[in-house]
């Protein structure tokens, strides 16, 4: 689904990603863990196409497309979805209105017809149920006045609406209580299929009890320095990152 090779990216002249390699095949869930400031959100932003970052080296193949050559919107239209660590509030723009615009622009890009108002509303009902998002929130302004948990659920609701090939969840679990966590994880699991892939960025092993990853990666100082089975997450939670740091410094 996605193959990242030797990715270097910097912001304001400071290199954050320093030769990152990662491959996530279709049908799999990969978790990325790592200490604060390691570059996890940077990776997500670079993949989503945020212009503040300059990619200086490397390549990203996204299901056959040269991802780095695409505009942010075209990446989304090709099936990339980022659930933001900090979703922005957009006063005055209603969730449903913006999602209909998004859905129709994506459909147009793919040569499909615009969705009818009736089908769209049916879809809103169906998908908001998956994440147990109050339908009232669906018609309110994007994230405006939403609680932290509601914002995260709204991200997964949008993901459900847009049905991406690759979803990157950036700390979607942080700030969620255990019920919300279960709901969000259920949502993600319901949307899993052989055709799509998911990258879950998290600090907490507990999320991975609900969303079982095929592979766990450790991102440290701008690189993936360790990859392993889901048990690696447990080990990281128990021991922290100091041993990783020590291992790296020893190299």
């Amino acid at each position: 689904m996605i193959t990242i090779k030797n990715l270097h990216a910097s912001i304001d002249g400071k290199e954050i990603l320093k030769g990152l390699n990662l491959e996530v095949p279709a049908g799999q869930v990969h978790a990325i863990m790592g200490p604060n400031g390691a570059g996890k959100s940077t990776l997500a932003s670079v993949l989503a196409g945020r212009e503040d970052y300059e990619v200086t080296e490397g390549s990203v193949d996204f299901d056959g497309a040269d991802l780095l050559e695409l505009s942010t919107e075209d990446r989304a239209r090709e099936g990339m979805f980022l659930a933001f660590q900090y979703p922005v509030e957009i006063p005055g723009v209603s969730n449903v209105n913006f999602l209909r615009t998004a859905l129709n622009e994506i459909r147009e890009y793919r040569g499909q017809e615009a969705i009818s108002a009736k089908d769209f509303m049916a879809m809103v009902r169906e998908k908001s149920a998956i994440v147990e998002l109050d339908p009232k929130l669906a018609s309110r302004a994007v994230n405006e006045g939403f609680s932290g948990g509601e914002k995260k659920r709204n991200e997964i609701f949008q993901m459900a609406m847009l049905e991406p090939k690759l979803a990157i969840l950036d700390e979607t679990d942080s700030g969620l209580d255990i019920d919300a966590l279960r709901i969000v994880a259920n949502g993600v699991n319901k949307l899993r299929s052989e055709k799509n892939a998911t990258i879950v960025i998290t600090h907490y092993q507990r999320l991975l009890d609900y969303i079982i990853p095929d592979v766990v990666h450790v991102l440290y100082d701008g690189r993936i320095v360790k990859s392993g089975p889901k048990e690696l997450a447990l080990e990281l939670e128990e021991k922290g990152y100091d041993w990783i740091k020590a291992e790296q410094e020893a190299k």
């Binding site: 989503a48 006063p91 723009v93």
Partner: protein, 424 residues
């Protein structure tokens, strides 16, 4: 500012204009002519015109178009029914005008009114140092008298269409509206142009909202770039009345709106809403005054602008609360979004409060679109252009949505679609 402006006398500007033949009170005509004699156009050294240059306007010598050209005015109509008066280059276009009998409503042309019927015209208008008001009196071409009888509920639209269709031509029009006690009505005013260039509309409205009456004035300003308009509204509210005004400015080289509301009774409500969406080299200047003279009143003022390309805007809003006007709630806010580095705005909200038991707030914001929000929308598959449009619409929608007149909103949306490619 170190720059010097060459003053241009008014006489060069008015040389082709004719003294009014309307039966206005003679002393007002004389006072106006005296006021204008030997005067020049205000420069940016004059406080009220600090950010609005009249240089381009002052270089013109507009003529009077003797007759209307009979331009098809249908595309400019906002309402499909009701009374419609079309005024082309300052003259009533009778074929396009539609008078309908509505109980409690009288609409008359000034040119067919006696001096007695016009005796109150000009009563609320200050002339001193108000050159455009003085010109509107001395050179008045035509006027519209609108009377709403006491207790009348006028549900059908009343629409005035101002149309400029000549090059370097002046249209000088007065509207005099009396809303009787406990009456209810709304009036729509559209300002348009077709084939006009370097032309100017000088429109003054005097509005008296009687005790317990409700009156709404909605203006849609769409003269094409190249033309000028100076629009003045003088409103007086009696006790227990509600006055609401919507000013939507979508085009025009120079649009100056002067609104003054004298709230001269207790328990009144005053709502002023303005939206301006500018591009090219447009300039729009909204000067408003709400004068609270009596206690227990509420006023809301919300003006918002989106300024693109090289366009410029001015907002100057004054709210006075006089000494004995206790228990006033007055809210005023002006927000602007600058779409480019070359767009600019000068915003000056002012409160002058002489009473002590009042609740007032005012604020002004100017900024760019939230780039984080643009990125968020793009990351969902929305093009950058649509993303910006969505954000701009949301911003300006707060004001546009205050108007619940479907036909007015539909026309506004149609023009927004035409000019900015929006689908609302």
């Amino acid at each position: 500012m170190s720059e010097t402006q060459t003053d241009r006398t008014l006489s060069a500007f008015t040389k082709h204009l004719r003294q009014t033949e309307i039966s206005l009170p003679a002393h007002l005509i004389n006072a106006s002519l005296n006021e204008l004699a030997g005067k020049s156009f205000p420069t940016t050294r004059t406080e009220a015109w600090k950010y609005t240059r009249l240089t381009k306007l002052s270089k013109l010598s507009p003529t009077l178009a003797a007759h209307h050209d009979g331009i098809n005015s249908t595309p400019f109509a906002i309402h499909s029914t009701g009374n419609r008066v079309v005024i082309e280059n300052g003259a009533i276009h009778m074929n396009a005008t539609r008078f309908e009998t509505v109980s409690g409503l009288t609409i008359k042309r000034f040119s067919e009114c006696s001096a007695e019927e016009l005796q109150h015209v000009g009563g609320m208008l200050s002339l001193e140092n108000e050159l455009f008001n003085a010109m509107n009196t001395a050179y008045l071409q035509e006027g519209i008298l609108v009377q709403i009888a006491d207790k009348a509920q006028i549900n059908s639209p009343i629409e005035l269409i101002h149309l400029l269709s000549k090059v370097e031509c002046a249209a000088t029009i007065r509207v005099f509206i009396h809303v009787g006690k406990f009456a209810k009505a709304a009036l729509t005013m559209g300002t348009w142009s077709a084939g006009a260039d370097q032309s100017i509309l000088n429109a003054v409205s005097e509005i008296h909202v009687g005790e317990g009456a409700h009156f709404t004035l909605q203006k849609l300003q769409c003269e094409e770039e190249g033309n000028f308009q100076i629009c003045t509204e003088e409103i007086t509210q009696d006790k227990d009345s509600v006055f609401t005004m919507h000013t939507v400015t979508l085009n025009g080289t120079l649009v100056r709106n002067n609104v003054r509301v004298r709230v001269n009774g207790t328990n009144c409500e005053t709502n002023l809403y303005g939206a301006y969406l500018l591009k090219g080299n447009q300039h729009t200047d909204n000067h408003t005054v709400i004068d609270h003279m009596m206690p227990h009143c509420l006023s809301n003022e919300l003006y918002k602008g989106v300024i693109d390309e090289q366009a410029t805007a001015v907002f100057n809003g004054k709210v006075f609360v006089r000494k004995d006007a206790q228990k006033i709630n007055a809210f005023q806010s002006n927000g602007n979004v600058l779409m480019t580095d070359t767009a600019s705005v000068n915003s000056k909200p002012e409160l002058e409060i002489y009473a002590d038991d009042v609740k007032c707030s005012h604020g002004s914001t100017t900024g760019q679109l939230d780039e984080e929000a643009v990125f968020y929308l793009q990351s969902r598959g929305i093009s950058e252009r649509s993303a910006r449009n969505l954000l701009v619409e949301a911003f300006i929608g707060e004001v546009l949505d205050k108007n619940d007149n479907k036909e007015f909103v539909a026309k506004t949306n149609a023009i927004l679609n035409e000019r900015f490619g929006w689908e609302r």
